[in-house]
């Protein structure tokens, strides 16, 4: 018996971009549909393009007869030249930025979509969990949905029946098990969905970010269950943006970037490579960043920091005032109702807090084509470390500009509480104003 659970060789997945089909395609499509069932039957290999790689029928199943060239702008490689192996019993964390190809990889390995090139061999019973409560029907009762969902995830009726009570108890919905799921709170639905999934007993488990649901108590319960699964000798592939969780659960890591493997090996190697990815991004000026979304008039071209004396600073200090200047350009003026949010993330990619102009003061009315949005934080609560910011700018409710990891913010220690002592805990968290007292009871 081989100890390999998953072997992936030269795997690639190409997507078509743009509108899939319009009226102009009608004659071409009609011809293909009419011949599709027979094409292979008679051995005409129009599905193989000139250079011998399987051609782009990955999408439509209608192989493009006119052998589309590989790098045509209508195509986009979500995955390219992916090679790796996972042994039985390994727990592999797959990390990467949004759009790096993580979910596509999981979808290919779960057979939801087929690759365009290469192959993957999977040895063992696979259960993939890309969503909690897949296929729940709102009109059916909890009981009916447990059977349906379990069966969708690949459990047999007998397996479900044997674990039914356990599943219901884990979800904590005993009282409502014969109530239609549409009457459940969203939390109950998620718990029931996870409970079914948690009782799967596959050799290989593929999980995508599903733990980011439910309340804190249930999340830790899920984490515990995941840890159990991981320790139980099962092979697990786990995708998450929560780096802390990946670090805890997965001894091995795989870093994807732009559809290719950037690093593989120990989770620390992968995590370090992940951080350096952003170092690279930082070198590109904000004005030149192309990984932005939104197409409104307002564009942010630069973000810088100042202290309380309006002097530019490289690092902020805990407990000190911080002024953040977002330099904007506007393609036309005036622009009314500009909504602006800054999100602060720690180095585990957890949102720490956010600043929003509408909540804290009011929407901006922009009348000059260049200027600065200024956010003043009178007393920075961030503890020492490296943070990153993303911003969202909307005009009249329409997204105008948005960049993830738009800027990095270094925070040094400071005297937050005005007691003359500096904060020295490196474990993160934020400072909040508070007071202490020791009240003695009078006898």
């Amino acid at each position: 018996m081989s100890d390999i659970a998953i072997r992936v060789e030269n795997l690639g997945k190409r997507y078509e971009i743009g509108e899939l089909v319009t009226v102009r395609d009608l004659p071409r499509v009609a011809r293909k549909v009419a011949t599709a069932p027979f094409r292979k039957l008679f051995g005409r290999s129009s599905a193989i393009s000139g250079n011998g790689t399987p051609d782009g029928q990955a999408h439509d199943g209608l192989p493009s007869a006119d052998a589309v060239d590989e790098d045509s702008p209508r195509h986009f490689w979500a995955l390219r030249d992916i090679n790796f192996e996972v042994k039985h019993g390994e727990v592999l964390g797959i990390i990467g930025r949004n759009g790096a190809g993580k979910s596509t990889l999981l979808k290919v390995l779960s057979r939801i979509t087929s690759p365009t090139t290469g192959s993957a061999d999977v040895f063992g019973r696979v259960a993939s969990l890309l969503e909690v409560g897949t296929g729940f029907h709102p009109d059916l009762t909890g009981r009916e949905n447990v059977y349906l969902n379990g069966s969708i995830l690949g459990m047999t009726r007998r397996e479900i029946a044997a674990q039914f009570d356990e599943i219901v108890a884990f979800a904590g919905v005993e009282k409502f098990i014969d109530t239609p799921v549409k009457r459940y709170s969203s939390g109950m639905r998620v718990r029931l969905g996870f409970a079914v999934a948690a009782h799967l007993d596959p050799e290989i488990l593929i999980v995508d970010e599903v733990l980011a649901v439910g309340d804190a108590g249930f999340q830790s319960k899920c984490l515990g269950k995941m840890g159990e699964v991981a320790q139980g000798g099962r092979t697990v592939l786990f995708v998450s943006h929560n780096l802390a969780m990946v670090e805890t659960l997965c001894p091995k890591g795989l870093l994807l970037d732009n559809g290719s493997i950037r690093a593989a090996g120990d989770i620390t190697t992968a995590l370090n490579a992940y951080s350096s990815l952003f170092g690279h991004t930082r070198a590109t000026g904000l004005a030149d960043r192309t990984d932005r979304t939104g197409d409104g008039p307002i564009r942010i071209i630069k973000i810088d920091y100042q202290d309380e004396y309006d002097a530019p600073i490289a690092a902020a200090r805990l407990g000190h005032p911080l002024r953040i200047r977002m330099h904007y350009r506007s393609s036309h003026v005036p622009v009314a109702n500009v909504w602006f949010t800054l999100n602060f993330f720690d180095n585990h990619n957890r949102l720490v807090f956010k600043c929003n102009n509408e909540l804290a003061s009011s929407l901006f009315q922009v009348s000059a084509s260049a200027g600065q949005f200024v956010c003043d934080i009178p007393k920075l609560p961030l503890t020492p470390g490296v943070y990153h910011l993303n911003f969202h700018c909307k005009v009249n409710g329409m997204k105008s500009d948005n960049v993830e990891r738009a800027a990095e913010l270094m925070v040094e220690s400071g005297d937050y509480f005005g007691t003359g002592r500096t904060f020295n805990d490196q474990r993160g968290g934020i400072c909040v104003d508070h007071r202490w007292a020791c009240q003695e009871s009078v006898a």
Binding site: D60, E90, R111, P115, P180
Partner: protein, 303 residues
């Protein structure tokens, strides 16, 4: 970094040696894969749960529940009898018009249900298709089979109607299941084509509704085929063509065959020529299944 990432932590044994390890090779969908109905068979429990879901969900939170299933074809048959039997005075042979037309509506309903639900099913199950793997064919299969329960209730009603009007079934009743199967297969055959195509071209789905009602009037559902055969109002030269085309409709075979199975020698039954349509039906079904299996790997990308 080497192209093949290796993880060299010792793996803990999880599998017992005596158990065969399932092995799946995931490859681009370029190869001609056979229908692989064996895989569909392995997922038969899921087929059962989907069928159950479709049936249960349809009548949850309805006041009359299954009564609807009987009420709807009864009302339709009553209306058809009034217009075609009473007002237009069309013939229905030895069978009272309402019973005659009810039998047609019943088997047509089974076909139409199979066709419309299997056409729409992929879009309706979009969330499943993009999140979990199973042979996609299970969905239209379950959709077409789920109409059977409704149909059986209808058959019960037909039996009552026949009892009341004194029509005793004959040995031809034994052929009934065969025509029921044909009705489902006919619905499924067109349904898989439409569902696979409508994943990519939404307009095909819109066409299905139109197709069903159009098709019904070309089939002797609400009227007897006597109206078409030897009708003096049809121009003489056109008559043979009309009759031939009319009989080559697979649903002609299904409806006429079903009536013959239910009423025996009292009705004409399927004509010899109409059996040719069986080949057409099987052709549409075969190509439809192949097209479906061929394109199903791409459903998640385009649905």
């Amino acid at each position: 970094m080497s192209p093949t990432a290796s993880f060299d932590e010792p793996a803990s044994p999880v599998l017992t040696v005596d158990e065969p390890i399932p092995h799946v090779r995931i490859r681009p969908a370029s190869g001609w894969s056979l229908l692989n109905l064996g895989e569909v068979w392995r997922y038969r429990e899921l087929l059962w749960f989907f069928t159950l879901r479709d049936i249960k969900a349809r009548y949850k939170q309805t006041l009359l529940g299954p009564i609807w299933i009987i009420l709807m074809p009864l009302a339709t048959s009553g209306l058809f009898s009034l217009i075609f039997g009473v007002l237009a005075g069309l013939p229905s042979g030895e069978i009272p018009y309402p019973v005659f037309v009810f039998s047609g509506t019943l088997v047509w309903g089974l076909f139409a249900k199979a066709l419309s639900t299997s056409s729409a099913c992929l879009k309706a199950n979009q969330n499943l298709i993009t999140k979990v793997y199973f042979p996609r064919l299970i969905i239209p299969l379950a959709a077409s089979v789920s109409g059977l329960l409704d149909f059986l209730l209808g058959v019960g009603t037909l039996a009552v109607l026949m009892l009341v009007t004194g029509i005793a079934p004959s040995w031809s009743l034994l052929a009934l299941p065969a025509f029921v199967l044909l009705a489902i297969l006919a619905g499924l055959s067109v349904g898989v084509w439409i569902s696979a195509l409508s994943v990519r071209f939404r307009d095909i789905g819109y066409a299905a509704t139109f197709l069903i009602s159009f098709w019904m009037w070309l089939t002797p559902v609400a009227y007897s085929s006597e109206v078409v055969f030897d009708n003096p109002k049809v121009p003489a030269g056109f008559q043979p063509v009309l009759e031939a085309v009319y009989q080559l409709n697979p649903m002609f075979l299904v409806v006429e065959g079903f009536r013959w199975a239910a009423f025996g020698e009292r009705v004409a039954g399927p004509t010899p020529l109409s059996w040719v349509s069986l080949a057409g039906l099987l052709f549409i079904l075969g190509t439809g299944l192949f097209y479906f299996r061929r394109t199903e790997v791409t459903f998640a990308d385009v649905v």
